[in-house]
Point group: C2
Amino acid sequence: MITIKEIAKQLNMSTTTVSNVIHGKTGEVSDDTLKKVQDFLAKVDYVPNINARNLAQNKSKIIGLALKARADKYDNLIMDPFVSELIGGVEETIRNAGYFMMLYISSDTVEIMRHVSTWNVDGLILFGMLDDDGIRVSEKYKKPIVCIDTYSIEGLKHFTNVGLNDEQGSYDITNYLIKMGHKKIAFLSDNTNGVDLARLNGYKMALSDAKISFRQSNFIKIRPREEEIQESLREICEKVKDFTAIVCVSDLYAVTLLAALADRGINVPDDISIVGFDDNMLGKLHRPALTTVHQDIKTKGITAASTLLKQLAGEKTPNQIQLPTHLVLRDTVKDLRSAAK
Amino acid sequence: MITIKEIAKQLNMSTTTVSNVIHGKTGEVSDDTLKKVQDFLAKVDYVPNINARNLAQNKSKIIGLALKARADKYDNLIMDPFVSELIGGVEETIRNAGYFMMLYISSDTVEIMRHVSTWNVDGLILFGMLDDDGIRVSEKYKKPIVCIDTYSIEGLKHFTNVGLNDEQGSYDITNYLIKMGHKKIAFLSDNTNGVDLARLNGYKMALSDAKISFRQSNFIKIRPREEEIQESLREICEKVKDFTAIVCVSDLYAVTLLAALADRGINVPDDISIVGFDDNMLGKLHRPALTTVHQDIKTKGITAASTLLKQLAGEKTPNQIQLPTHLVLRDTVKDLRSAAK
DNA sequence: TTGTACGCGTTATCAA
DNA sequence: TTGATAACGCGTACAA
């Protein structure tokens, strides 16, 4: 680990000169010494000590990606293809901009914020934040923050959010089911907050626009914890006969359900139609292939990271960025219009 | 961002004392001042500046996780459930030990090493390293390294590797197919290096032990690039009639193939048996559910991280750590023994 | 064009 | 038990 000081000594010049060359301030240096230093640098394979650099400049060149895991879903979180795709997009963007990414997974907001301030992280990308977090975070942390898929009202006052028009996507696919002649349509999710709530609302709105009434029994709650999931699926499969279609809040749940139905000899789409939301690998590779709402998760990660980078560069960015969705029609929806007669 | 210096000033004492309290060196401090400092610390919510600390101690408390992506697979890499599960295991272990994780994805070894030495990373976990990398890395980097799933001969001289007995796993499942009456068994992969080679060898060995000869035509090469995959799958599906079973090098490929076969009306397991390797979500949720070799990827991540942590603590660790595999028999293999007559 | 000297926040050494 | 002070490596204002 050679230092600037050492280089300067060996070259018989000052650290300033060496430093200037390193930073490309060639105007300040004579051609002669410039070349001498550059050659030497290449030879010894100089690598700056980031700690010293950061300390001197009070920067860190680190962008934190904090995934706030819901305690009850932790194990599933990182296995969800959604998360890995997101990480991929963020990492790539950050790296290309010369920043570094620190990944942090936790269910404790306080712990996340402590971590972030210790490292003097230049900016923060938050995923999975809830309402109360927004308040706490905005008090402590004065640097740029970009949220992903957050519906926190408090948060949105202070941070940019990158998300989808979840309501619209959900509306569209529910509407598609209705157009295909479905009337008894359920909605499946494990909670009614944030993104899930928005998607539920879109679904409800589509029903309402078609003069179909929503009852509480139309909402099917899945319990994703490992100990409960099988029991939960069993219950759900029994309810299936009451409906002709189920709108699942995610591809993961849709495909999980698809498998459970297949195990019980319930045919998709003949006995029941299933749709998802996300359009990930799971639904793509399943057979019958899943009809779903497409979102580009990698782009979400890229957008979040590049928005943050813009803010770091002093640019203004909109408070809300909504990425588009579109329907992907595959094979899990039955056309009831002809079958009806 | 309050500093030790500032605290010392406000409390009318020296930075040394404050620092001592922070580090729990209570023996060095009188009860009186101890309490005074502790109270003050709690009040002002002191967070240490890691850069300064690292600079002073020449440590970083960072563990780097470098995923070396093969250029031709980059897009798939991060979407592969394998990778996200691995990250999850590593991150959790590192965080619980009070370290931080820096994630780095790149196909350029030099770039990775530069990054790692800039940050003075205390230890490194490498995934996806090839032979020549091993040499280069071991020259530059003198701190602990743990590799995951590496078969680099050079690397193994210098680093601990955490992996599987891939040969054995592959042998077992091939052997299972043979026991079920299969003789015409193909092996599908996209390369013949490292893990893939080991699995290929296990497969060959099982064939050989059963006096079944291996010909070059038994090796089916899949081309996973997005532009080629469909064409590649088409070709593969045509070859399928020459075999009764296909051993796929991963669940991802197995399920991809499963979907392609289903699209062409080729029945699994009636027309052809398919097995995978990994036992991830993809195979679990597919129907028919995939028969495969199980490995616990999260444990792999945890093991890699905790082995590195041990090395950091000065403990000796074995050079090779092989995690167990076991067969998971599900529904993609046909029993040919009765059908044969 | 080059060099000196100081500050960044922390820890460590040694003296008081 | 406490406090000066040096050191870590780098950047930079200012002086030469």
